[in-house]
């Protein structure tokens, strides 16, 4: 359950910044079989969200077609110093969070 977050540590007010996230997860599709024919049960992250100072700025619904260790990158406007909170929710009660701080001048 390791997350990699890439947020610029400082930005000018009004800058458009890119946020890159990666969560380590197998993203088992539920369509694979073992050698003796049993289905490997689905185990994926189904939802990802990002909040910027408490307001949700990005959300994604993920499906088995997302590759293992889901990487998601998106943009936002840096308008205030504060924190980004990231949350991943998935099958079998999977839940993980991460935070990143930004200073806006």
């Amino acid at each position: 359950m390791a997350a990699l977050i890439n947020v610029p540590p400082r930005a000018k007010r009004g800058d458009i910044i890119e946020i890159k996230t990666l969560m380590s997860h197998i993203m088992e599709t539920g369509y694979r079989h073992t050698a003796d024919g049993a289905v490997v049960p689905r185990d994926i992250i189904t939802s990802f969200s990002c909040r910027y100072n408490g307001t949700e700025i990005f959300r994604a619904d993920l499906f088995p077609a997302i590759a293992a260790n889901p990487f998601i990158s998106f943009f936002t406007v840096a308008d205030a110093s504060g924190t980004f909170e990231f949350e991943w929710i998935g099958d079998r009660g999977f839940s993980a969070t991460a935070k990143a701080a930004i200073t806006v001048e």
Partner: protein, 165 residues
């Protein structure tokens, strides 16, 4: 000696019978293996999934740019970037981006919800592709209109359904 000749002929025919039966069994076996594989999504399932998102609205072509390598060696992780030409203001912005496939077991790839605070309507991720197929990205704009782009991709090594070793 004379009696032996028909004997060998008889032997021959039973062997032929056996081989024919074995061949038939092999064919039956092959058919079973094929039917065990999960059904793949069809273009019809893709359009049904698209209808679930857009409803009865008309989907225009344009504004959306879908960046995927046209020739993919490994379908297990394919970089994909979707960007939409939009000023991203409070009045005119992208609400969401939806990506669909034709031939994976499921027609959906991902739904991405943006807003005017995104600044730039662009999302990147890595996807799985089970076969050479067409990928479609649809953007839902603030005025309620839908815009799309499609790309044909050739995949050499398929993902999603391979056996666990």
């Amino acid at each position: 000696m004379r009696e032996l000749i028909p004997m060998t002929r008889q032997d021959d025919t039973t062997r032929r019978h056996f081989l024919a039966l074995a061949g038939g069994a092999a064919v039956v076996g092959a058919v079973q293996i094929l039917t065990v594989r999960p059904a793949e999504a069809t273009p019809a399932m893709q359009s049904a999934a698209i209808r679930d998102v857009v409803g009865t609205a008309v989907v225009h072509t344009g504004k959306v740019k879908l960046d995927i390598p046209p020739l993919v060696e490994n379908g297990n992780t394919v970089p994909m970037t979707v960007s939409v030409a939009s000023p991203m203001t409070a009045e005119d912005h992208v609400r969401s981006i939806h990506v669909f496939n034709e031939k994976n077991p499921q027609p959906n790839i991902g739904n991405f919800v943006l807003g005017p605070r995104a600044g730039r309507a662009q999302v990147a991720t890595r996807i799985r592709l089970a076969d050479s197929q067409k990928i479609t990205a649809i953007a839902h704009l603030a005025d309620g209109s839908f815009w799309s782009a499609s790309v044909d991709i050739v995949v050499t090594l398929a993902a999603c359904t391979e056996e666990v070793i």
